[in-house]
Point group: C2
Chain length 255, copies 2
């Protein structure tokens, strides 16, 4: 008997988010799904892990047969825990999402969705991060079919060691979508503006706001592709050394 | 009158940590220092930012004239807030540390210390992350002098746009130290093991433990260099696209 594909599903919007439910639905048809996700929203946690607090793992059920485990930790924690300790068999693939809001450009660095996939590849498991360019939950049909397509292609072709796929789905229907586009991480970023406010007791506090800036010109950059209704697929790796600067740095004259 | 150098100091161990005090002492001699750091320990928060909670900023004083601002946020928050809103003049340099414990290999990705410096370069400011390979505070003399040397060299030579220096100081005295070594990010990583425990009420919980694994062979890899008493200096950048995989990915036959 052929072994069924074992799929680990996680996210950073939390186990009660609509996006992870949609992803669970899509993955149900593809193999055996384990859902392990943060118990609350953990957006913008980047690659945080919990080392100074106890971790709780709680079984969760939702309608339609959704079962999963809620963790009082980060997306990266969830993957570490599932793969290193909780699951008896190592998953064939990690799929993280479907994130509410795009993860492109500089924001990849802040993304809990992408960091869950990063943890997956660090543990040697092919991993996909999946986001949709909207905060509304009316657009999951296309993203669900993208999740299935990407998963099949990754399992069929494999990924280089240490590389994940960061997939962003536009806010549109399948018929309005331009198709798939292989992209690079572009330069889109969030320009922060701290808003000063006063609480009911007259004490000052701040709230992080701002706006998205995108000066990219080319459709092979993730943010631009997405804006033009492409499904952007960017291979991401974490070899961070700036090799081009090593020689110059050696000439700085350290004793 | 020549303008004094403006230095932003932050960390991830929190504003009350001994390491940031040592860094403040070292930087005091070099220019005008502003300290803005998390109000509690934020180790392993990676590049997290606070978007869903109000942010408080509180003035803090410690002995010896140490003044700073405590933020109920992450290291990246501190840099965003200081540079984007709080400081009237943009700092000439961001120095993050002195972190208790090395930040080398894969752990760079989890490090709040490094992510504060990453936030600095994303805002266009030359930035240094500084860590020491011990959790004891008896070894700051060497690290303090390294902080001063690195700061002078960075301001004198400049850094490429988008590149920070990740500096790790060995646990030794200046006389035992092998000197400076320009290094690459190596493969050292933390092998996680989740410990299962029971709380006083009989409920199961977990604690993230594990051990460091280092299979690196060469002294130009950060973890190895550090183990051999070198001060490792690694240029780090965040262009994450796996360019070498783009062509293969294009051949996957997306419609």
């Amino acid at each position: 008997m052929r072994k069924r594909t074992s799929i680990l599903v996680t996210n950073d919007d939390g186990i009660h988010a609509p996006g992870i439910y949609a992803l669970w639905e899509a993955m149900q048809e593809m193999g055996d799904v384990t859902v392990m996700a943060p118990n609350t929203e953990k957006s913008a946690v980047g690659h945080a892990v919990t080392i100074s607090d106890p971790i709780r793992i709680e079984p969760i059920t939702r309608h339609g047969g959704f079962e999963g485990y809620a963790v009082n930790g980060t997306p990266a924690d969830c993957v570490k825990i599932a793969v290193g300790s909780f699951l008896e068999v190592e998953p064939d693939i990690v799929v993280s999402g479907i994130n509410a809001g795009a993860n492109v450009g500089s924001n990849i660095l802040y993304s809990g969705t992408v960091s869950a996939a990063a943890e997956g590849i660090m543990l040697g498991i092919p991993s996909i991060a999946l986001s949709i360019n909207t905060f509304k939950s009316d657009y999951y049909d296309l993203a669900k079919s993208v999740a299935q397509t990407m998963m099949k292609k990754v399992l069929h072709n494999g990924l280089p060691k240490g590389t994940l796929l960061n997939v962003n789905v536009p806010k549109c229907s399948a018929s309005e979508c331009s198709g798939y586009k292989i992209t690079r991480q572009g330069g889109e970023y969030f320009l922060d503006k701290l808003e000063k406010r006063e609480d009911p007791r007259g004490r000052q506090y701040f709230w992080m706001g701002g706006k998205i800036i995108n000066n990219d010109k080319s459709d092979d950059q993730d943010g631009n592709a997405l804006a033009n209704n492409w499904i952007s697929v960017t291979p991401i790796q974490y070899k961070l050394t700036d090799n081009s600067f090593l020689d110059t740095l050696s000439d700085w004259g350290f004793e």
